[in-house]
Amino acid sequence: MRRILTIAAAAAILITLGGCTVVKPWERDLLARRDMAFESDTLEAAREAHIYFSKEASMPGGSGGGGGCGCN
């Protein structure tokens, strides 16, 4: 419960900080870089999530999909 509150606080800070700086649409050259994407390689992300999911107990952080097998 405490951890969830901490994350909620972090989210609130993130939003507030964001509200302070507005980066204009024409100022987003750096953000458009391939190495600034949260994930630039879909297949690599899928493969890594797949491997870690198969060998560890945790579920991938961001996947909104279901499916899988009988193994975890």
Binding site: L17, V22, H50, G65, G67, C69, N72
Partner: protein, 445 residues
């Protein structure tokens, strides 16, 4: 299709199929969230929450996954099973097509060939230490996976629908998902919500030796909910927070694993897990560009907890170094630590037969360290051509951009790496070490 290479000797047991290498849904959802976070007219070619991708894109990835042989001092040398562990060859394909002004279609497929032995149960050695018994047969197995997703772009964001199927010789899984992204604050803020439902059938294809429970077919269903917030923090910084919740119900045991009971008679008991499971994960990420160095830093942290009492922490740090215009070298490190499931035991003491039990190393307490290196080459406008009308309709333009990437990963796991303290009795002898070699080729047409 399962081809069995060798018969298991001694105990009259039939060989087993392996289902250790399983895939959750591909991370299209992740990609959608991450690029939508910025609502950019992305030069990276990925879809944004602002408008569909401009050009048709196709990607192919080939990877080779190989585990280290189980070390001699962790292996029960009794003539059954092999120290050689898993080896997997994977091929992935992906197509992204802008089919109309406001609609993108994505198709992703995977084909995989797996072979090797996997951990079966833990037995005591002569000095009382825990040793891993490997499954006797070396099995070859194949897996096929396909997902289709459609993005519908609106003025303030986009809606996504996805469906997929995954199949191996002993299981079949379907899933359906929906999601929505919305932009605010001059597109500096993106809110993402999504949900997916999946249904799995598992039909363990070979007899598994169990002492107390008859082997059964299993079904399970899951609901997966996701919420995320992405925020542009400065001209060179973005951040993201996401929470993921999953509820699973049904047959959750691993039918290919057993746990040894130190009773007289040396009984082997089936793996039994609760028939319901709740999982939560919270993810935070930062992307920071360092202009004078032509480099970007990525930092990810994930906290996970579930109703098996497992909690874990994952930290991922990557440095992306741009060299000249067309090359990026990215070394990265990942640290992971998990605690144990409350029903995990390597061995069961005499007379104890708990209702829930497992010796699966994936439920044991341990930590892992992974080092990776990747090199990516981006060649813009490698070729120019005049595409015919029908190709132009699906987004093919007048030039080819080619992106090629090679990567290598070395993963080590050990009880000593964990953040929690791991008792000697609890350290799973079957903890895995592996390497991954991968090559990806992407074309933007």
């Amino acid at each position: 299709m399962v081809r069995v290479k060798e018969q298991q000797r001694g105990k009259g047991m039939l060989p087993q199929a392996q289902s250790e290498f399983c895939l959750p849904r591909p991370s299209r959802r992740l990609a959608a969230l991450t690029s939508s976070a910025l609502a950019l007219p992305g030069i990276a070619g990925t879809a944004t929450a602002d408008s569909p991708i401009e050009r048709a894109e196709a990607s192919a990835a080939f990877s080779y996954y190989v585990e280290d042989d189980l070390s001699r001092n962790k292996f029960l040398e009794d003539g059954v099973g092999d120290r050689e562990r898993y080896e997997v060859y994977t091929t992935q394909l992906r197509f992204d097509l802008p089919v109309s002004e406001r609609i993108d279609l994505g198709i992703q497929m995977l084909y995989e060939e797996m072979s090797g032995a996997s951990p079966w149960y833990v037995a005591p050695g002569t000095a009382g230490e825990s040793l891993q018994v490997m499954s006797g047969a070396t099995i070859e197995d194949e897996r096929f996976d396909a997902t289709i997703d459609a993005d519908f772009y609106l003025d303030k964001g986009k809606d996504t629908f996805s469906a997929g199927v995954s199949t191996e010789n002993d299981y079949l899984s379907f899933h359906l998902g929906i999601g929505a992204d919305r932009n605010y604050n001059d597109k500096n803020t993106t809110l993402s919500l999504s949900g997916a439902f999946s249904y799995d059938w598992i039909d363990p294809s070979d007899q598994n030796f169990v002492s107390t429970t008859p082997r059964e077919d299993g079904e399970k269903w899951s609901i997966d909910l996701f919420g995320g917030l992405s925020q542009v923090l400065t001209r060179s910084t973005t951040g993201q927070i996401a929470i993921n919740y999953k509820h699973s119900d049904g047959f959750l045991n691993d039918p290919y694993k057993v746990i040894q009971n130190l009773d007289s008679g040396f009984g082997l008991l089936s793996d039994e897990r609760p028939s319901e499971k709740d999982q939560v994960s919270i993810l935070g990420r930062i992307r920071q560009h360092i202009e004078p160095l032509n480099a970007s830093v990525h930092f990810d942290y994930r906290f996970y907890a579930d109703t098996y009492s497992i909690t874990s922490h994952t930290v991922d740090l990557a440095w992306h170094q741009g060299i000249m215009n067309w090359l990026t070298i990215s070394p990265s490190v990942r640290y992971y630590s998990q605690s144990k499931a409350d029903f995990y035991e390597t061995l069961l003491p005499v007379g104890i037969v708990p209702k829930e039990r497992s010796s699966d190393f994936r439920l044991s307490p341990y930590g892992s360290l992974s080092l990776r290196i990747k090199a990516e080459v981006v060649l813009e406008e490698l070729l120019r051509y005049d595409a015919p009308d029908w190709l132009r309709r699906v987004g093919v333009a007048d030039g080819l951009d080619l992106i090629a990437a090679f990567s290598y990963e070395r993963y080590l796991s050990d009880g000593n790496y964990a953040l929690v303290s791991v008792e000697e009795d609890d350290e799973a002898p079957g903890l895995v070490k592996f390497q991954v070699f991968a090559f990806t080729l992407t074309g933007r047409f």
